[in-house]
Symmetry: C2
Subunit: 313 residues, 2 copies
């Protein structure tokens, strides 16, 4: 139904800002031909600067065979941009009417077997695809800044999106060297931004109350949970920290602490069902490894991360 | 008034669990003589195992000159534990009556020029020091797990703590190779745990609502914001991502998004005062560096962190 994700060789990026340009650099580094659409030829120097900057890091991480900046074509005509393309990554400004008009147009000129992914972080696909004549192939494919470095892409469809398009995007982004996260439901902010935003709002409360400065916030993260979170998410961090009892011990022992005013965010009721979902989820991730093995791996990786930070500071 | 922090050579740790044992390992690695108090001789094998595990990572990070496991003395008599010591790191169980009784005793037998730091993550020093006859030298010195790897120590006094003791702890922990964060106010959860807890509560909401699994949560963090947060806190991440306009652009442009339901946590009102505190704080951290320089440094460090993770996976 859709173009075979393994046979994609040409990708179109729409948008010449840090996200659009970052995506173009990423796809070039993975060995794709990239057609980059910019609104105005005057945006070209900015796009080039973004790609040149990204390229340094991408080279350091390792390019795919055949990857080259020479495989970039920059166009200012949207019809040229979508010609012969196998996938479109849209990173236009975060403006709903503008995106709706763009998708109305793309929906007509892009062959229906080409999936369109939107980089939006704040809008819902159900709204974006409203005026698109072919909404079934439109999905969210939300990266994290900088998009050429952080692997995450959150994928979710709108009400009119075909499940097959969501599935296709998951396969394609994985082939293209990203870490896709296919969402269960269309919720504002997706998963990662919601987590980051909860932390951010609490940080703003602390600054507003004179409890911490921005420097305190950043130091607390850099020297505290973040190096661990980079190699072990918060669920597994608690699971492994609680020894053989794992997440079950964590929730049974610290569950009452969810009632304490440790943040301005109210925690959900710790029902039996939620407890079990957390415990089962962690056991699935652990996949039979015991906590000592996981703790040793955690330490080895934190050491590597701390040394990497130290050696580049 | 207090023992010169630069002349500290002997440290006492109280508690044989992962936090107490982790602290003992850290101080040994930094070249101190360590007297470790455990409640019962039967806890010794557990303590030894914790220290042995930690030692592998500490060796990989680099030991201080003269650091040796031979400089550890383990005792089960609290009077022996505090003899000739220059600092006490208390990591007893998180039980308020137990801690209060311990501080009542320590307050009598520990010379008054020795500062006592508590590893508690959930209790307030104002409560812990309630029955201590010499409460002025008692402070919170809260590490992050694993305490032998993550540099952060959050420091705050209780109502009866002398400001000089808080200051002393800041100096001492820094000399001892930690990253001290002296808190402005005594608030539950301190800074880092509040940030982590806000994220954690939102994660629990998402799992409770079937919006994400524990695996989704962890993948979103590991592949998304965490590698960046490990080298650039959330304030500077936004500051640098917004180009030359920095945090001011971020707040002026995305301020309205604080009203959006991107988390279950309500954000504070974005007053002029809060805006200015955030902007001024980021400019202070930036210390004259322009955003291009900071973005390039960010990328270099994220590359190093991603390679460190990849090479140890």
């Amino acid at each position: 139904m859709y173009f075979d994700p393994k046979r994609v060789t040409r990708v179109t990026t729409i948008g010449g800002g840090p996200i659009g340009g970052g995506w173009a650099a990423h796809f070039l580094a993975r060995g794709y031909d990239v057609t980059a659409y910019i609104h105005d030829a005057a945006e070209r120097p900015i796009l080039d600067a973004i790609i040149d900057t990204a390229w340094k890091s991408l080279m350091a991480l390792g390019l795919a065979p055949g990857a080259s900046l020479d495989r970039l074509t920059v166009v200012t005509d949207i019809s040229d941009a979508v010609k012969d393309t196998h996938f479109i990554q849209e990173s236009a400004p975060e403006n709903l009417p503008m995106k709706q008009a763009l998708y109305a147009q793309l929906g007509q000129i892009v062959p229906p077997d080409v999936v369109i992914g939107s980089s939006t972080s704040g809008l819902m696909m159900t709204d974006i695809q409203q005026d698109c004549p072919t909404p079934e192939r439109c999905v969210i494919g939300h990266p994290f800044n900088p998009p050429y470095l952080l692997p995450l892409v959150e994928i979710v469809g709108g009400k009119a999106t075909a499940p097959a398009a969501v599935e296709w995007a998951g396969e394609f982004y994985e082939i293209a060297g990203k870490a896709p996260l296919i969402m269960k439901k269309e919720i504002p902010g997706f998963v990662a931004t919601r987590l980051q935003e909860a932390l951010w709002r609490e940080a703003l409360h602390m600054v507003a109350n004179g409890e911490a400065t921005p420097e305190d916030i950043d130091n607390a993260l850099i020297n505290g949970p973040a190096p661990r979170m980079a190699i072990q998410g918060q669920c597994m961090a608690f699971h492994v920290a609680c020894g053989a009892g794992g997440m079950a011990t964590n929730l049974d022992q610290f569950g009452p602490a969810l009632k304490l005013p440790w943040t301005r965010l109210e925690a959900p009721e710790l029902t039996k069902e939620l407890r079990d979902r957390m415990v089962d989820g962690c056991n699935e991730i652990a996949d039979g490894r015991d906590f000592e093995e996981m703790a040793a791996k955690r330490d080895e990786q934190i050491v590597a991360v701390l040394r990497a930070i130290r050696d580049t500071s």
